[in-house]
């Protein structure tokens, strides 16, 4: 997956997890956690597993702080997806 595709995948997942928020104007450096409660974040991790087969260990949760950092973290894991 390209970085752009990964970004779109993340936006799609967070939009499903918290559909009440407006995710269209999300900037790359903006904190995802500002619009996701802790239980929502667990759902994002779950959807990454379900939809893309990506395992994110708990120690790496901090890597998914923003859209950009999430793409950076997921890019190698999704390179051949």
């Amino acid at each position: 997956m390209t970085r752009e595709e990964i970004g779109q995948a993340i936006i799609k997942i967070v939009s499903e997890v918290n559909p009440d928020e407006d995710w269209t104007a999300l900037t790359p450096e903006e904190s995802l956690r500002g619009k996701l409660e802790s239980m929502d974040f667990l759902d994002v991790i779950m959807e990454l597993r379900k939809q893309y087969g990506v395992e994110v260990p708990e120690k790496d949760y901090g890597q998914l702080a923003t859209l950009k950092s999430s793409i950076d973290y997921l890019e190698p894991k999704l390179a051949d997806k």
Partner: protein, 418 residues
């Protein structure tokens, strides 16, 4: 029997969703116009089944995220609870303190829908339980539908559900009455809810019991008392009543739909599934006595009959024991013939649908009685078309459930001097 105003419990609002109406007015109109709410739906594994499904808009009172993480029963309960506040012209925090408001909801079962969904989900991942949702626990705790209401409305008084099989709606109502009489709350939001048609297991189980209704015409499938009835139509829905002590209701000049004058509950203690007409008759008689009435005083008996062969006959036996032939002004009807069996919501919804009779003096019928089963003959059974009567003073609402739980409620036309 002269009760003080703070010992009298009145209904000051009704919020509901039924398969054929999402407000009391719409529901009542459907019952008087013979409009069924039963349709064909597809469910996993079992395929096409007949069910009563509601079409209220859950987004009216919930965020999309709350709908996603909650349950269908919770959405139904939240819709009904918000509607009842409008109906009762009640502003929480002003007309009733949040900490003095309680939510008491009857449920037939809860958790089957959510558990089935999770099992289906992990099946897609080689039965790996690490894909099981963390929301499964809050979704399936037994108090979940009532708890969702408190979260939605910010109610800080007590909440719990009452597991009472298909008598649960009345048990929810009775619990509300008791909590008010105990002085635990000033406002009780009480009734029952059902999300049962979202579970395929309940259809499969009734099917295995040869008690699942089948009919090429869905609206004809729920046919209590008819010779050709062949089982239950599983339905969803909810009805929540605003209950208050009379002095509290009068102080805020509330409109009063009726007074809960009598109730009784007991257990068959005889079989897990088969009903017991002796215990049912005892339950009805005790509820009538508690109301200070005699059977001949009852204007409408809303029967529990679900459309099973034996269940309908057993209830008719019980009705004959209590009412005999000496109650010329007592009329019998059935609401499940329109909406199927709304399980935990059934008793509450069926009572709600009859409350307007205090004003319009119309007994809604039991529909789909093409050939009355001789074993179900009752004097004044109102079949197929509504019946206008001279007066409606007292409504008796029957509900009976598996494990032999019976609960009967008597609601009376409100009169200021009792």
């Amino acid at each position: 029997m002269n009760k003080r105003d703070n010992e009298r419990i009145v209904i000051t609002g009704v919020g509901l969703t039924a398969p054929n109406g999402d407000t009391l007015d719409e529901f009542r109109r459907s019952l008087l116009e013979g409009k069924s709410g039963v349709c064909a739906v597809e469910r996993p594994y079992i395929g096409k089944v007949l069910a009563g499904v509601c079409d209220f808009d859950p987004c009216k009172y919930q965020s999309r995220k709350a709908i996603r993480i909650g349950t269908r029963a919770g959405s139904i309960a939240i819709y009904c609870a918000n509607e009842v506040l409008h109906s009762a012209n009640l502003e929480l925090g002003k007309d009733a303190p949040l900490e003095r408001t309680g939510v008491f909801l009857g449920i037939t079962e809860h958790g089957n829908v959510e558990t089935e969904k999770e099992i289906d989900e992990i099946r897609r991942y080689n039965d790996d339980t690490s894909y099981w949702s963390h929301y499964h626990n809050p979704r399936t705790v037994a108090n979940s539908p009532a708890g969702e209401v408190t979260v939605n409305l910010g109610i800080t008084g007590p909440h719990f559900t009452i597991g009472g099989a298909c008598a649960a709606g009345n048990l929810g109502l009775v619990t509300g009455v008791q909590q008010l009489l105990l002085g635990e709350v000033d406002l009780a939001l009480a009734g029952g809810v059902s999300e049962s048609p979202s579970s395929y297991g309940i259809f499969a189980a009734f099917n295995s019991q040869t008690a699942l209704a089948k009919n090429d015409e869905p609206e004809k499938a729920s046919r209590p008392f008819d010779r050709d009835r062949n089982g239950i139509v599983v339905s969803e829905g909810g009805a929540v009543f605003a209950l208050e002590r009379l002095d509290h209701a009068l102080a805020r000049n509330a409109a009063i739909y009726g007074e809960i004058t009598g109730y009784h509950y007991n257990s068959d203690a005889s079989d897990m599934v088969l009903p017991n007409s002796e215990r049912q008759a005892e339950c009805m008689a005790a509820a009538i006595r508690r109301a200070g009435l005699e059977p001949k005083d009852i204007s409408i008996v809303n029967t529990h009959a679900t459309g099973t062969k034996m269940g309908d006959i057993k209830e008719c036996e019980a009705l004959r024991k209590v009412f005999g032939d000496a109650c010329p002004n007592t009329y019998f009807n059935n609401t499940k013939s329109f909406i199927g069996h709304c399980m935990g919501a059934a008793a509450a919804l069926e009572l709600a649908g009859n409350l307007p009779a205090f004003e319009d003096k119309i007994v809604h019928p039991t529909i789909n009685v093409d050939n009355l089963d001789p074993a179900c003959e009752l004097p004044n059974l109102v079949c197929n078309t509504p019946r206008v009567v001279d007066r409606v003073d007292h409504i008796l609402n029957n509900s009976f459930g598996m494990m032999g739980i019976n609960c009967v409620v008597v609601v009376s036309r409100f009169r200021r001097n009792g």
